[in-house]
Symmetry: C2
Subunit: 227 residues, 2 copies
């Protein structure tokens, strides 16, 4: 079995285009990339498609000023966004920031809007950390959806728009790309709905029966031959 | 306008049977009744139908041992219930107990069961307190439902079983009872689905457009003439 960092080097060396797609919302891309570099991956921030930058594009396009219910480490991704007098809520995997007070505060912002807008940086159910399983952003998204009778706009995987922006950044049509990931819904399902082929790897969270959401990192690459 | 405590006295004096139906899950019935007595209501614990005792009946019938995610003040209602080695989760309006850690713990109990059982003491979206709107038990119920892919069994209003047990305790068939309450869904809708007639009062949380859930107390009474 070839270690993943070496495999990725071979893909890059073959001249195929490659892009990393993550639903990571507990850290900036900078921090995320540093972690992967430390594990031996040849990866740069410019090669990463992540929910927070995708959300920022939407916020700018629609003149939305977010109230953020996100992890402290993700806040810098929204540095250039006007957050005064919020007219929407952006929810990410806020982890310890998912307090009773913070959830009530986000709820009050939403319910106070004439037309509540909830943008969610993913729809994961739960994930595993060293100290056990944790509820993911999707669970808290559902709580706010129910309380405000709204449907969240999900900007992470498996949203079609997320894969489309990754493809646009690569300059590759879906038919010429393949998605590789360990999550049957977020990676494989999302890519297929976008017209891509997809490949599920049996590493990470892969289980034969059901699938755990472990903040997966998938990769889209141009189809071709790996040398 | 006759004050509510006086009106209830007249109903009782007329010989009609009366029962108080509440979704209150932030306190024991004892505490709840004391509060109402302080407001001038002639009411005893035996006249109150509330979600926690209804849940206890279900737990006993089905040999379920709950992990409790409820308000501290509600715990005494479950004093006689075996809670060792839990095989279900009971969720109420836990308020400050809705912490990130407590929600993860309840989730881990549920996801660790072969067939997760989630019993919810209500499905309210939110309610108002002096310091603002708060998410109600229904929102957190939805979070756990989504994370575990289960459907909660709701034992408070508007559950049919809840009204049926109140009627059974009164010894009155639904056709001979009327439900009075301020909540169009939990009071009026629930009673009507049970075959009762229902009457919405324009007090408490009543709004012409939408309905706030303010831990309503409704009352079922036998149909007849009030002297």
């Amino acid at each position: 079995l070839t270690p993943l960092p070496l495999l990725l080097n071979r893909i890059k060396a073959s001249g195929l285009k490659l892009r990393f797609c993550t639903n990571e919302t507990q850290a900036t891309r900078e921090k995320f990339v540093k972690k992967l570099q430390g594990m031996g991956f040849d990866i740069s921030v410019a090669e990463v498609t992540a929910p927070a930058p995708a959300a920022c594009r939407i916020l700018k396009e629609r003149s939305l000023r977010p109230h953020l219910l996100v992890h402290d480490d993700l806040v810098p991704e929204f540095a250039e966004i006007d957050k005064a007098n919020p007219n929407c809520v952006v929810i990410g995997d806020a982890a310890e920031n998912f307090t009773y007070a913070n959830l009530n505060e986000a709820f009050r912002v939403l319910i106070g809007l004439e037309k509540p807008v909830l943008i969610s940086l993913g729809r994961g159910r739960y994930y595993k950390e060293t100290d056990g399983l944790k509820l993911d952003v999707g669970a808290y998204m559902k709580a706010l959806e129910y309380a405000c009778d709204v449907q969240a706009e999900v900007v992470g995987k498996p949203a079609k728009m997320f894969f489309e922006s990754a493809l646009a950044e690569m300059g590759v049509p879906p038919q010429q790309a393949i998605m590789i990931g360990d999550d049957i819904v977020n990676d494989v399902g999302g890519a297929q709905q976008c017209g891509m082929r997809a490949l599920q790897v049996r590493t990470g969270k892969y289980r034969s029966v059901h699938t755990l959401h472990l903040h997966p990192m998938g990769a889209i690459m141009e189809k071709g031959e790996i040398n």
